[in-house]
Amino acid sequence: AVSLPFAVGQCGNQVGCRFWDLALREHAAVNKKGIYDEALSSFFRNVDTRSGDNGPDIYKGKICSLKARALLIDMEEGVVNEILQGPLRDVFDSKQLITDVSGSGNNWAVGHKKYGCQYRESIVEKLRKTAEHCDCLQCFFIIHSMGGGTGSGLGTFVLNLLEEEFPEVYRFVTSVYPSGEDDVITSPYNSVLAMKELNEHADCVLPIENESLFEIVNKIHQMINSGKLGSTVKQNSLVTSSAGSAKTLQEKPFDAMNNIVANLLLNLTSSARFEGSLNMDLNEISMNLVPFPRLHYLVSSLTPLYTLADVNVPSRKLDQMFSDAFSRDHQLIQADPKHSLYLACALLVRGNVQVSDLRRNIERLKPSLHFVSWNQEGWKTGLCSVPPVGHSHSLLALANNTCVKPTFIELKDRFMKLYKKKAHLHHYLQVDGMEQTCFSEAVSSLSDLIEEYSELDATKGAPRIYPSRLKIAV
C-alpha cells in the first residue's frame, strides 16, 4: 500500500528532502539484491529510463530507476531548485513539482486563497497522475510548517483538496508549529487559521516544535562529545554542520533537526513497509489513536536518540529505550504527557524486540501514566523486524494525550494578542476571498478543541453515571 507525501513550503520541502534521502538509504541497506519489491513500492516507482525519463513503470524485477512518489510544492523556487540540483535530482521529475517565484510573504491568506485558487487545477492534475501510478493508495502525508504562508496556507488548501478528491484515503499531517520567539510576527495568525483546517480535514496530526528538535540535536551532540559512551561519529553524519565539524553548532542546525522529522515518518511507516510479527499499518494508527474525530493530535517521541544520527553507540538496555520514550527529552513537542491524561498510546518497535519485551515494559510503565477511564489498557503495539540502518532496535511512541492543550492555549493567546489590536490584519483581508469571519471561525474552532480537552481532563473521561450492563432474564 502506498503512502504519498506532499512537501509544501520551505520547511516541508527541507524535511521532505531529508526524508527521501533516508528512505533510499534504508531500503538500500535492506534490499541487497536490487530487486524492486513491495516495500520499495510504498514510496518509490521503478521507471524504465533507458529511453528517457518518460519510460513506463516496471512493477517487478531489477531496480532500474527509482522515482519518489511525491509532490513538491513551493511558491518560491529556492529550496526545490536546491533539491533538483543535489544528489536527489534523479529521484524527482518536473511533473511532480509545483512552484512559483514570489513566495507567500508569510501570509496564510496568500497561500490558501490566492495560490490555492491559482494552482488548484494544476495540483489536482498532478495528484491524479501520481495516484494513477499507485497500485493501492492508502495514505497521504502532508509535511509543512504552520507559521509561514505557503506551508501553512497552501498546505492546508491541499489538505482540503485531498479530502474532496480522494475522501477514502487517510490524511496524515506533520506540522511544525512556531515557537513563542518565532521570527515571523504573524505566525500565530497563520497557525490558528491552519489549525481550523487541520481540525476539520486531517485524520491525524503530528505536531512538532522546533525547540524540541533543537534540544534533541544538542543532546546527540553531548552524547558524542562526552566520550563516555565511546561513540564515534560516522562520515556523512547528519549531525555534522556544513563546515564538517561536529563540535559546536553556531546556528540552528536545521539539517539535523529536519532529519529527526524525516526519521519520524520513516519509523511511522516502517511496519507498513517491512515484515514483522505484529504489523501496524497507517490506517490502524488512525483507527486506534483517534477515539473522537477532532481529537487527532498525537505527541510523538523517538528513541534511542542516537539512531537519529549516524553515531555508533553501543546498545543500551532495551528497557531503557522504553523508559526514554516516556521522557520529555525524546518528544518532538514541548508537552507533559505524564501529568496529563492519555486517551490512547501506540508503541511501534523496530528490530529484535519480542512481545514479552513489550509486555514487560508496558506493565512497568503503566502505573505512572494516567489513562482515561474507558481506555485503561489503551495500548496499540506493533513489532517490525527490520531495525533502522546500522542499529539493533528503535521505538516510536505516539500518544493521544491532553497535554497538547497548553500548546494550543498558548497559540490562541498569541493569536489574541495580535487580533485584539487588529495588527497586520489588513495584509490578510486584502486578499481575495479572505474575510474577518475566517479569523473568528478559526479561533472559535480552536477554542472548541481546547474545550474538548478540558472536559476530558476534568472528568477523566468518566461519564457521570455508568450505565449498568444489560441484564438477561434468566
Binding site: M287, Q354, P463
Partner: protein, 450 residues
C-alpha cells in the same frame, strides 16, 4: 475425512503455518513408540485429514489463506515451502493491499461482501479436492480487523454455502493489555457473530499461552512465534488422529463431527477451552518420565480449578460433595462446572488407563448423564515426542471470566461512545453493537447459571 483450514488475517496465517508445521513434523518423527502398523495408519489418517498429495513431491496443506495485506501471506508461503517437507498450494491464497485497519466494520461490511466470491471460490476448490469433506477449521484473532471482521463474514458464508458441514472456529483472544486499543469492540462483534454461525468456538488466550511459555517452556524472550508454537502443539494434540470409543479399529474418520457430538449438546453452549499436559521444552523431554495417574490427577484438578497449566494449580478447590443437597447457587465459587469434557490420551500404555474420576457426576451440570457428558479418545502413537500426553477439550465455565472481562471493558468504552465513529463510518451502528452485547450477555448468563 478431510478438514479444510481457512487462515484469516495475520494471526490466523501465522498460527496456521505453525499448526501444519507441527502436524507434518509429528508424522515425520520417529518417536511414535508404537507398532509400525499403527504408525503408518496414524500417518495416513493425518495426511488424509490435513494434506493433499496430488501431483506434488511434498504434501500440500488443505488450506485457504486470506489476508487484506500481502506481507504475512507472502512470508507464510515462502517459509512453508522452504521447509522442504510440506507447502501450501500456490493457488490457495487471497490477499489485498490496504489491510483492514483493525476495524471490524471494515473487515465485515466492506472487505467481506467485496471479496466474498473470490474467497469462497478458493474454499470450494479446496473442498472439492477432498474425497470426503469433514468440515472446516477457521483460525483467526478476535482483536484486529481482518481475522475478526472478515473472519466473521467468511464464517457466515461457509455456514450458508455448506449448511451440513461441521464448522469449528479457532479464535485467539488478545493480551489484556497492549495489542489493539479497540480489541474489546472487535472481540464482542466477532464472538457474537460467530456464535450464530459456527458449531463451536475453540479458544486460546494470549495471556495464558504466554504464561505457559514463560513458566513451563522456560523461554526468556518470548516471541509471537513461541506463543504460536505452543498453540499449534495444543491444537495438534486434539486434531491428530485418535481412536474414539465406539469407533472400531481404525482412526476416527469424522474428527470434527465426533468433537461436536461429544462437546456441544446444546446450541446455547458453544465455547470450548483447551488444556494440555505435560508441556515442557523439547530439551527436557528425554529426562522426564510420567505416569498416567499423575498426569490425569493434574489434568482433572486443572479442570476443576480452572487452571491453565500444571504449575500453580489450586488444590483446595473441590467439587461439591455428592449426596448433599446443595442447590446450585451454593456451589463453591471457584469450582468450574462442566457441561461436557473430552480427554485425548496419546502414547505409551494408553490402554487400560483409568478415567473414572472424569466421570464423577459432581463435575457436571445435572442435565446430562455423566456417561454422556464425558468422552475419551486415545492412541498408542505418541504425539510430538511426548512419551505420554493428554489433552482436555472442555465445554465448561473456563472462559466465563475472561469473556465477562472483555464484555465489561467493551461496554465501558461503548458507554463513552469512544471510537464509535470509526465503525459507523463503515456501516456498523450503535444498534448493531447493542445486539452483539445482548448475545454475549446471554451467553455469559447461561454459563454462569450452570
Amino acid at each position: 475425512m478431510s478438514i479444510v483450514t481457512v487462515q484469516l488475517g495475520q494471526c490466523g496465517n501465522q498460527i496456521g503455518h505453525e499448526v501444519f508445521s507441527a502436524l507434518c513434523s509429528d508424522i515425520r518423527g520417529t518417536h511414535g513408540l508404537c507398532s509400525r502398523k499403527e504408525n503408518e495408519s496414524y500417518r495416513d489418517a493425518c495426511r488424509e485429514r490435513f494434506f493433499c498429495e496430488q501431483e506434488s513431491a511434498v504434501p500440500v496443506a488443505r488450506a485457504v489463506l486470506v489476508d487484506m495485506e500481502p506481507k504475512v501471506i507472502s512470508q507464510t508461503l515462502s517459509t512453508a515451502a522452504s521447509s522442504g517437507h510440506w507447502k501450501y498450494s500456490s493457488h490457495s491464497h487471497f490477499c489485498q493491499k490496504q489491510g483492514s485497519g483493525n476495524n471490524w466494520a471494515n473487515g465485515y461490511s466492506v472487505h467481506g461482501p467485496r471479496h466474498k466470491e473470490a474467497i469462497m471460490d478458493l474454499v470450494r476448490k479446496e473442498a472439492e479436492k477432498c474425497e470426503r469433506l469433514g468440515g472446516f477449521f477457521t483460525i483467526m484473532s478476535v482483536a484486529g480487523g481482518t481475522g475478526s471482521g472478515l473472519g466473521a463474514f467468511v464464517t457466515q458464508c461457509l455456514r450458508d454455502a455448506f449448511p451440513t458441514s461441521f464448522l469449528l472456529n479457532h479464535v485467539v483472544w488478545p493480551y489484556g493489555t497492549g495489542e489493539v486499543i479497540v480489541q474489546n469492540y472487535n472481540s464482542v462483534l466477532t464472538l457474537s457473530h460467530l456464535y450464530h454461525s459456527a458449531d463451536a468456538l475453540l479458544v486460546h488466550q494470549n495471556d495464558v499461552v504466554h504464561k505457559i511459555c514463560a513458566q513451563l517452556m522456560n523461554i526468556k524472550q518470548i516471541s509471537f512465534r513461541d506463543v504460536n508454537r505452543v498453540i499449534a502443539h495444543q491444537l495438534g494434540s486434539v486434531f491428530q488422529p485418535a481412536h474414539t470409543a465406539g469407533g472400531g479399529s481404525g482412526y476416527s474418520r469424522n474428527p470434527l463431527g465426533d468433537l461436536m457430538e461429544s462437546l456441544v449438546p446444546h446450541p446455547e453452549f458453544r465455547m470450548l477451552g483447551l488444556r494440555n499436559i505435560p508441556q515442557m521444552p523439547e530439551s527436557s523431554l528425554p529426562y522426564s518420565t510420567f505416569s498416567w495417574p499423575g498426569l490425569l490427577k493434574h489434568l482433572r484438578q486443572m479442570l476443576i480449578a480452572n487452571a491453565h497449566m500444571e504449575e500453580g494449580i489450586d488444590w483446595q478447590v473441590r467439587p461439591p460433595q455428592p449426596g448433599s443437597s446443595i442447590p446450585s447457587t451454593n456451589k463453591p465459587l471457584h469450582f468450574n462446572t462442566s457441561i461436557a469434557n473430552l480427554v485425548i490420551l496419546r502414547g505409551k500404555d494408553v490402554h487400560g488407563v483409568d478415567l473414572g474420576r472424569f466421570q464423577d457426576p459432581s463435575l457436571y451440570t445435572s442435565w446430562l448423564n455423566p456417561q454422556d457428558a464425558f468422552s475419551a479418545w486415545q492412541t498408542p502413537r505418541a504425539f510430538n515426542k511426548y512419551e505420554k500426553s493428554a489433552a482436555l477439550v472442555s465445554n465448561s465455565q473456563f472462559l466465563l471470566q475472561p469473556l465477562d472481562n472483555i464484555v465489561g471493558k467493551a461496554w465501558n468504552m461503548f458507554a463513552s461512545k469512544a471510537y464509535l465513529h470509526q465503525y459507523t463510518k463503515f456501516g456498523i451502528q450503535e444498534e448493531d453493537f447493542l445486539d452483539c452485547f445482548t448475545t454475549l450477555e446471554q451467553v455469559i448468563s447461561s454459563y454462569t447459571n450452570l
